[in-house]
């Protein structure tokens, strides 16, 4: 059978949900960042799919390109920050960062 827009969107949605859950559950900072990547890519899938099936056209693909680039940049910064966190806490367990609260 021929895949149509809805099935792509479904995949995108699945990726999105997985990413969110990953973010919300992982204790390891790296894991959390991967969750972020999943979310972004879920969006990317949507963009590409829309660019094929709707009036969005080429713009969708441009969108996804930009997103990929930005994702890379963000990941770099995020990893740097995680490293910084590691230097101070000697762990990448996000739950250890609980000094700031209240």
């Amino acid at each position: 059978m021929q895949p149509d827009l809805s099935s792509y969107l479904f995949i995108g949605a699945v990726l999105f949900v997985c990413g969110v859950i990953c973010m919300a559950t992982k204790r390891n900072a790296i894991g959390v960042l991967m969750g972020v990547e999943l979310v972004l890519n879920g969006a990317n899938v949507n963009f590409v799919a829309f660019s094929k099936y709707t009036a969005l056209g080429l713009d969708g693909q441009v969108f996804s390109l930009f997103v990929i680039v930005l994702a890379a940049a963000e990941a770099a910064v995020a990893l740097a920050i995680v490293l910084n966190f590691y230097n101070n806490h000697l762990t990448v367990d996000v739950d250890r960062g609980n000094k700031l609260k209240g």
Binding site: G12, F16, G19, V20, M23, A29, V32, L33, G35, V36, V39, L40, G42, A43, N44, N46, F47, A49, F50, T54, A55, L56, G57, D59, G60, V62, F63, F66, V67, L70, A73, E74, V77, A78, A80, I81, V82, N84, F85, N87, N88, H89, V94, G97, K99, L100, K101, G102
Partner: protein
């Protein structure tokens, strides 16, 4: 096709685009210069902040030139450039000026407080400028793509700046939380963008409302229609992303932690600038979605929803601030509360913009946006003033708790008077700017209430919150003026320059309250800008 795109790009880039983009270009240029300085270690000879100040001033000058042109051509214009990615009108220019001015003030503050030290200065200022550019993009974004880019570009450097105090556990923790939270929010927003852009088949924000009408196939856009429902979901996800930048409840969690972890200067910068950009973006987005009868119901509902969010945010912020002892954290909550106040203006705008007598309300709608802009302008001074005082006191007492402010009046009146003015202005007591700003917001909410009763609730909530806020603001004053200076707290001998700096801020806050030319000029400009952003609806 590609060539056509290229021609198109070159044409409007060369004849006007670059001109419109000059402020951002100046900032980018400054960044390059600073990096090069670092490379060739010129920064040993010339302090980096001088370059920074020059760059910021230049950017401000350019945007002022644009401003002058726009005022001179006394029929308000709103043109898109860079292939419809950005939009040039009084609104974006207003924010360019605002941001460059604020950039200058922040740099000055960092210079006075000596954070960062000469080592890190180039990196720090690079990040600062980058974030500023991002905010300027947010202010002038005309396309969902630019919306996302702007937000990211503003956020990513901020993550780093929050974590800039190296070797501080709190700082690194704060930045980690900020980055993860921000990334998550950005992801959600992006997903929303994908839905909106995909279903409506365009990224151009000015077309959104029209496309929704098309999607709704004549009928009024309701959630019965699955596509409209999806769009609504997308819109909401986008707003979640913006809500994160605005630290609206329940997307505010990063704010207190990040502010407490970050240095006071950075906190001040984030509390004002990123909010300014985000509000600009929110306004543009909402305007894009409005103005078509079919979407009226939906958007009014969104407006009321924003109003409710505003109530929750304000109340939460004011109540939570009451028990804080760390002043940065306390001000973080107050920032949340004030975001709520400003959001009231946006809600009012949405409600009025989508009412059936919107035509008659043109002025009122302008004023609601104008009120928001005025509030931001005053907020810039009063909040920066407060953070500046904290930073300066911290430099001597190495402590940001409220106890370190006890009896400060006996040692450095200038700081106390500034804090006094800022706090009274934050409460909204005349004759300080905060009062007038708050008045404008309440006024527009009142007018919106003529259209939708729910706005009366918002108005009442605003009034009640003014009283709640009293409690924790007065705690600060009480500590500074009414209590004795404890013996163990280090003294605060205030050098002249720093004194002048804060006093200037205080004076600005005061003048924005009652100096006729200033109040009048600024408010009328703000209203003009509000008018400008609405132009897209007609065309």
């Amino acid at each position: 096709m590609f060539s056509e795109l290229l021609n198109n790009l070159i044409n409007n880039t060369l004849d006007k685009g670059l001109d419109y983009f000059s402020a951002e270009l100046w900032l980018s240029g400054t960044i390059v210069v600073m990096l090069l300085m670092r490379l060739f270690s010129i920064d040993r000879l010339v302090p980096t902040f001088i370059v920074g100040l020059i760059g910021a001033a230049a950017a401000g000058w350019c945007s002022f030139g644009q401003f002058a042109d726009l005022i001179a051509a006394n029929d308000p214009v709103s043109v898109s450039f860079f292939g419809g990615m950005l939009r040039q009108d009084l609104f974006s220019v207003f924010f360019r000026i605002f941001l460059s001015l604020f950039l200058i003030l922040t740099i000055a503050l960092t210079v006075l407080t000596g954070i960062p030290d000469n080592e890190d200065a180039p990196d720090f200022y690079t990040l600062l400028f980058g974030a500023t550019i991002g905010m300027m993009l947010m202010a002038s974004a005309n396309n969902l793509l630019m919306l996302f880019l702007g937000v990211e570009m503003a956020s990513v450097p901020s993550y780093v700046m929050v974590g800039f105090l190296k070797g501080r556990k709190a700082s690194s923790e704060a930045s980690l939380k900020y980055v993860v939270y921000g990334a998550g929010a950005a992801g959600v927003m992006l997903y929303g963008i994908s839905l909106v852009a995909g279903i409506l088949g365009t990224g151009d924000m000015t077309l959104l409302a029209d496309r929704i009408r098309v999607v709704a196939e004549g009928g009024t856009a309701g959630l019965g229609d699955p596509e409209v429902r999806t769009v609504a979901l997308g819109v909401m996800l986008v707003m979640v992303g913006l809500a994160f930048k605005l630290s609206l409840v329940p997307f505010h969690f990063w704010c207190p932690d990040a502010f407490e972890g970050a240095s006071a200067e950075v906190a001040g910068f984030l509390s004002v600038a990123s909010k300014a950009g985000a509000f600009a973006l929110l306004v543009r987005f909402c305007v894009g979605l409005s103005g078509v009868p079919e979407t009226a119901n939906l958007m009014t509902a969104f407006g009321v929803g924003l109003g409710v969010i505003a109530i929750i945010t304000t109340t939460y912020g004011n109540l939570a601030a009451y028990t804080q002892n760390n002043l940065k954290r306390l001000l973080a909550y107050s920032t949340i509360a004030h975001a709520g106040y400003m959001l009231m203006a946006v809600a009012a705008m949405l409600v009025m913009l989508n009412s059936d007598q919107a035509a008659g309300l043109g002025k009122a709608i302008n004023y609601s946006i104008g009120g928001l802009l005025y509030y931001l302008a005053v907020y810039m001074f009063m909040n920066l003033g407060a953070f500046a005082v904290i930073a300066l006191v911290r430099n001597y007492t190495f402590n940001e708790d409220i106890d370190s402010f006890k009896g400060l009046i006996s040692q450095s009146p200038a700081l106390c008077i500034t804090m006094l003015v800022c706090v009274f202005s934050l409460i909204g007591i005349p004759p300080f700017g905060g009062f007038f700003a708050k008045l404008m917001i309440f006024a527009s909410v009142y007018q919106a209430a003529q259209i939708h009763w729910a706005m009366y609730v918002v108005l009442a909530a605003g009034a009640v919150n003014t009283i709640f806020s009293l409690f924790y603001y007065v705690r600060i004053l009480k500590a500074m003026f009414l209590e004795e200076r404890p013996a163990n707290v280090k003294s605060v001998p205030l050098p002249a320059m720093e004194g002048y700096y804060v006093v200037v801020l205080a004076v600005m806050v005061a003048l924005l309250g009652f100096l006729p030319q200033l109040v009048n000029g600024l408010s009328s400009i703000a209203n003009e800008a509000g008018n400008a952003v609405l132009l897209v609806i007609g065309g």
